[in-house]
């Protein structure tokens, strides 16, 4: 029977023991997440005890997390726009792709606004390029991107400091989960590849996965 430790991923066993109170909690959390190599999708931290977040390269604290999410949403939006233009899809499938693309664009807008409301500078839109060879390979890529996107949000949820940013991220996170399940259904694969408890993905894993599609 899974308990909270298993639910939060294999790395959380140590995290659970290590987390204290007050301002040391974040550092302890990060330190405790660092080194379980058996979990490529765990929330791996960049450094131990420095208080530096995984998303530091995107900005400080919640701004960094939001900008990380914004970068992924830009990527998803560009992907769907390219897929619509590719002419590989028609009818109901094309409508689904259009709809998902529109929702990703709304996420971009919302995250941009949220970064600004926290006094941050929104991350720039990356230049992207996607291999769009066949309908099947595009659907596969879409499913991969959405499952990864959902896992990316889940990987950051517990790092978010302010309740309003968390509420917003959660409202987006579950929509990414819906997209992922719908695409998995179109592909004929399981809607819940991680089983009853979705697994998080860390920043490193996510960025490595999307790197091939970012050209500048």
């Amino acid at each position: 029977m899974p308990d909270v430790k298993q639910l939060a991923g294999p790395q959380s066993r140590r995290k659970f023991l290590a987390v204290g109170g007050g301002s040391t909690a974040l550092a302890a959390f990060l330190a405790a997440c660092g080194s379980d190599s058996d979990s490529s999708t765990g929330t791996t931290a960049m450094s131990s005890g420095s208080g530096k977040s995984e998303t530091a390269e995107f900005g400080k604290g919640d701004v960094g997390i939001l900008n990380y999410a914004l970068t992924l949403e830009y990527l998803e939006t560009a992907f769907y726009a390219d897929v619509v233009k590719s002419g590989l899809f028609k009818g109901a499938d094309l409508e689904t792709i259009r709809k998902f693309g529109k929702e990703e664009a709304e996420h971009v807008q919302a995250l941009t606004q949220a970064v600004k409301s926290l006094g941050g500078k929104p991350a720039p839109e990356p230049k992207t390029e996607f291999p769009l060879k066949s309908a099947k390979s595009v659907l596969e890529l879409a499913a991969t991107v959405e499952n990864l996107g959902a896992a990316a949000y889940l990987g950051q949820a517990a790092n978010i400091e302010s309740p309003e940013v968390l509420a917003s991220a959660l409202a987006i996170h579950s929509v990414e989960g819906r997209h992922a399940a719908a695409l998995n259904t179109l592909m004929g694969t399981t809607i819940t590849p991680d089983g009853a408890f979705a697994k998080p993905a860390d920043v490193k894993t996510v960025l490595k996965s999307v790197e091939p599609f970012i050209v500048g």
């Binding site: 949220a114 889940l154 517990a158 959660l170 998080p200």
Partner: protein, 217 residues
Amino acid sequence: MSNRLERKEQFANPELATVNVDADSEDLSRSEVLLKGALAAGAVYGTLAVGPFVRKALAMTGSSDVDILNFALTLEYLEAKFYEEAKSRAKPSGELKSLVNLLAEDEQQHVEALTATIKQLGGKPVAEPKFDFPYSGTGGFLKLAQTFEDTGVSAYNGAAPMIKSKEVLAAAGGIVQVEARHAAAIALQNKAEPAPAAFDKPLDEKQVLKAVEPFLA
């Protein structure tokens, strides 16, 4: 156990100045933090959504993690029972049969995980209520399933920002994403949109209880 609300927060948005509080302050009430959060969330949901969201956020004020988990457990009991019963009652066949089996299994695992977590936190898991699901046939089942899954997603999204422990929050996140996946799969079975909106808005406890009350026997 860390408290996610115990952080100093600054907002550039001047609208928030009146409710901006030092979250490190000892006498800070949770409702102040939540009120501030709700107002800033308006930046994402749109200004029109701020009013209802404030009320939703405040409605959960004062709830402990055990309270929130017990609230979630009640919903998971409902879903688990609903799908277990549906295996025969909804007469699912083919693809839907596999889906019902999967959902029944997932919800049962959620029940077990939440029960274990509540005990681990030193709480007492709520007893399973008796349910009564008024539907007939596969169509009726699918319609009700959609209501339950969508309500489940919004219930977790509404309650999760009030969770204090990072571990519990991460666990709840892992569950809500699965509920969202279920909701999408059921929607496809209903020939409806799997992701009807760009944001799964939160529901507060009262709204959720109102939604599930008719099914408590």
